[in-house]
């Protein structure tokens, strides 16, 4: 019963967030209910249960993946899953294998609602957009294309690392516009120009800081992060932002009317 409520709530949520929703079968007629079968699940009797799946609206989008990579660090994901998601106290997310299924919405569920082995529910902090960016990032991490074999035979111990470490992602060219930078650095996962998402609207931020030493104050806030100005959801620090990009972003935000 609980699961049905969850699905119903999610459908409502996704409709509201205008995310893509599609059935598993293109042959569905108007009359037949949609069914669902995740690749990782076995259907009893081979009969798929009714339900729908959701797909990642940003799948393959490089900027969303970069934004997700930023969130992966700033929202403390790397504290449990390791830098690059290679595994720490939490499982590896870079091995192309998924404990709870690797379909778009299965990864989404894991992050949004959490999992009972201590994976916190991040939906409240990140919202649907933030979670989709994380999904996009995780899907962009190149998975090994061979089954790993660890071998210590032959050359000295150096040959031990036959499990391929994920290749670093190729750096994309810097985004030229402030809007592009906001997307690249993951700001738009939580902020929009004129409406509150997870964090406040950029226009409201501009209004709040206007008349103070606004450029410096806001730059410090973006760099160091903080909590309490707009409510209990923390703003993560962005201390690795290049100074020039930070400057351009702040100039753009403070210029909003």
């Amino acid at each position: 019963m609980k699961h049905e409520h969850t699905v119903a709530a999610l459908i409502a949520l996704f409709a509201a967030a205008s995310c893509t929703k599609h059935g598993t079968s293109e042959q569905q007629t108007n009359a037949a209910p949609e069914t669902i079968q995740y690749e990782a699940h076995v259907a009893a009797g081979g009969i798929k249960p009714p339900g729908g799946t959701f797909s990642n609206p940003h799948k393959g989008d490089v900027q969303s993946a970069e934004a997700g990579a930023g969130l992966f660090s700033s929202m403390n994901c790397d504290g449990c899953h390791g830098g690059g998601g290679t595994g720490w106290v939490g499982p590896s997310l870079a091995d192309g294998r998924w404990r709870y299924g690797g379909a778009d919405d299965e990864i989404f569920y894991s992050i949004f609602y959490g999992r009972p082995k201590g994976m916190p529910a991040y939906g409240g902090v990140l919202g649907t957009e933030g979670v989709w960016m994380l999904v996009t990032y995780l899907q962009s991490v190149p998975a090994p294309d061979t089954v790993p074999t660890q071998s210590w035979e032959g050359t000295a111990a150096a040959s031990a690392a036959a499990v391929p470490a994920p290749a670093p992602e190729a750096a994309a060219a810097p985004a030229p516009t402030p809007e592009g930078m906001l997307a690249k650095y993951g700001c738009t996962a939580c902020h929009a120009v004129d409406k509150k998402v997870v964090g406040p609207a950029f226009k409201d931020v501009a209004a709040k800081y206007r008349g103070q030493d606004e450029h410096a104050a806001l730059a410090a806030k973006v760099s160091n992060g903080g909590v309490g100005v707009w409510g209990p959801i923390p703003m993560p620090p962005n201390s690795s932002l290049p100074a020039a990009d930070l400057d351009a972003i702040i100039t753009w935000i403070t210029g909003l009317k």
Partner: protein
């Protein structure tokens, strides 16, 4: 029914006599009558891990061989140690914290019972460093231990029935509870881990009969929270009011860490409970300017009501994750020609501290491994003399070659032992350094609050670990056996002058306590991160027990040892590529005899 009542009486009588023995011989435990049992984590209140049993000695230990094994059914780091009370061996597993009671009087040691608590699996992800448990304490006819998800339980030692269960910590707040409780008179003292989650570190005193929380003492924060009472707090160095709050920026102490996940000691004459506090949160020290008292400190309290009597901060403004929760051994040590009632501890920060345990004064603090973050400890002020080039923080970028690594010169998970016969301390050590790259961190309740990356490399010589005998009076190493991998087991020493330890690649070793000569070794099937114990069996013979079960921090760092989860495949650790050649996860109790 009659039998049950009688064995309970015998168990209570045993602990009563043990308590009386400790009272009459507070510091040493050496000359007290050896009852052949192991009723508390470190054998005695002085935490010596020394047993008066001497059937196994340096002449015959070569004949040691396994006589019994048992799979716990759990794959995780098997830290801690069994208890042996009234011819029963008690074993607590890592999460899900099953308690087994083996009947040592019957062939094959069949189970009397096993207790299966309801533990939240959320604790798996909220524990920083594998789902380990550091063991139980026997008192008042009860086996008392912590469940990983923030509960302390007392289980009837005879029947296996739960007597009480108390919530002491909140997993949703980043708190987990791997430490072994410590019982003094009618108080059960417990604390919580969570230095990687920005907890508000504490210890609590529970009523032994009911489990009711009698007092809660924070390790940081305002005097009232720390149970600093007027006229009772007399630290040797840092005097003043409200230091636990004023040495932090704003409300930094509220998420400042100072977890408690190590070991405790007790001096009945002084009526002082000793324990250490862990690291300050977050790792990025620039978010918390100040000394950050009393993180990375030793604290001495009255066990009955928690009152803080003295505190000493080993690593002010810690910026290397140097928790101070290592075992604190109470022993008489001759310093400058004078025998002192000392507290001896091998700190993660690489210095071996000998403190006056009545006052917290530092009597000696030599380095016991390679140290680069400080040049020495100034005995006049008690403060380290820092090397400015090894101070870390987000603005400093990647600070290279900090020694020891944050695994510690020795891990607090690997408690040392002390033999009053040789006058020497025995401990595993790590020979590892790190680069420390701090970044700003955001506190989001229930998620990690760290802000640093810290890759490791081997220290001088290339071996990652060692086991050594140490003379605290001279501040010198007496002998050392190098180990290829970090050494992560506790130590045991006996009146037979034999010392026991295990290695990360799965060897269980005995050695001559005087010379270090290895007398026996046996491959136990999985890496050893637990602590050996010894006891006298019902047949009068001496036995030695140890857990095999690779894990703790090494489960995170060398995730390639994993084989149970097809959805979690990891590369080998770059500094220890071949440990997976020698071990995988496991969970086995081993017993050895002549």
């Amino acid at each position: 029914m009659k039998t049950r009542v009688c064995s309970l009486c015998a168990a209570s009588a045993a602990v009563l006599s043990a308590t009386i023995g400790v009272v009459s011989m507070p510091a040493q435990g050496a000359t007290q009558a050896e009852d052949g049992q192991w009723t508390m984590p470190a054998k005695d209140y002085s935490s010596t891990r020394y047993s008066g049993l001497n059937q196994i000695n340096a002449d015959n230990a070569t004949r040691l061989h396994p006589v019994w094994t048992f799979s716990t059914g759990v794959l995780a780091g098997h830290e801690g140690q069994p208890l042996v009370v009234n011819n029963t061996m008690y074993v607590v597993t890592p999460f899900p914290n099953v308690l087994y009671a083996f009947d040592l009087t019957k062939e094959g040691y069949p189970l009397k019972w096993k207790y299966r608590p309801d533990v939240s699996p959320n604790a798996i992800g909220i524990s920083c460093c594998d789902v380990i448990n550091r063991g139980a304490f026997f008192a008042d006819g009860k086996i008392i231990y912590n469940l990983l998800d923030g509960h302390t339980v007392a289980v009837d030692a005879t029947t296996g029935r739960e007597v009480w269960k108390t919530t002491i910590a909140d997993v949703a707040n980043g708190e987990t509870t791997p430490m072994a409780p410590f019982v003094v008179k009618d108080r059960v003292i417990v604390g919580a881990a969570g230095g990687e989650f920005g907890v508000y570190g504490f210890v609590k005193g529970l009523d032994l009969k009911t489990g009711e929380i009698v007092w809660t003492a924070r390790n940081i924060g305002p005097d009232a929270d720390m149970l600093v009472k007027p006229g009772t707090f007399k630290p040797h160095y840092d005097k003043g009011d409200e230091l636990g709050a004023s040495s932090w920026p704003n409300d930094g102490w509220k998420t400042g860490g100072a977890p408690v996940w190590g070991w405790m000691s007790y001096d009945p004459e002084l009526d002082l409970l000793y324990y250490g506090s862990g690291n300050p949160s977050p790792y990025n020290a620039e978010q918390r300017p100040g000394d950050n008292k009393w993180t990375a400190s030793a604290l001495a309290r009255r066990p009955s009501d928690g009152t803080l009597v003295w505190a000493y901060q080993f690593t002010p403004h810690d910026n290397w994750d140097y928790d101070a929760v290592a075992t604190m051994i109470l022993a008489d040590v001759k310093i400058a020609g004078r025998t002192r009632k000392a507290l001896v501890t091998f700190n993660k920060n690489g210095f071996q501290y000998t403190l006056d345990r009545a006052t917290g004064e530092v009597l000696a603090a030599p380095p016991f491994v390679q140290v680069t973050w400080a040049t020495k400890i100034d005995l006049a002020t008690g403060r380290p003399v820092l090397d400015p080039s090894r101070q870390t923080g987000a603005s400093k970028g990647n600070v290279k070659n900090v020694c020891p690594s944050l695994e510690g010169g020795v891990s607090p998970a690997s408690p040392a032992a002390y033999s009053p016969r040789t006058g020497l301390f025995y401990t595993s050590t790590n020979n590892m350094c790190m680069d420390f790259n701090a970044t700003r961190a955001t506190h989001i309740k229930g998620t990690p609050y760290i802000g640093a990356g810290s890759p490791y490399q081997a220290g001088p010589g290339g071996n990652l670990g060692a086991f050594m005998a140490w003379d605290a009076a001279s501040g010198k190493k007496v002998w050392e056996t190098k180990e290829p991998y970090p050494a992560w087991s506790g130590a045991l020493v006996t009146a037979g002058d034999v010392v026991f330890y295990g290695t990360l690649d799965g060897w269980f070793k005995s050695a001559d306590a005087k010379t270090g000569k290895v007398l026996s070794k046996f491959k136990v099937g999985s890496g050893i991160v637990g602590n050996p114990i010894t006891y006298r069996g019902p047949d009068g013979k001496q036995f030695v027990a140890i857990y095999a079960g690779f894990g703790g921090d090494w489960f995170l760092l060398s995730g390639d040892v994993r084989a149970d989860d097809p959805a979690d495949v990891r590369p080998a650790a770059d500094f220890m590529k071949d440990i997976g050649r020698h071990t995988s996860q496991g969970g086995i109790v081993w017993i050895f005899a002549l």
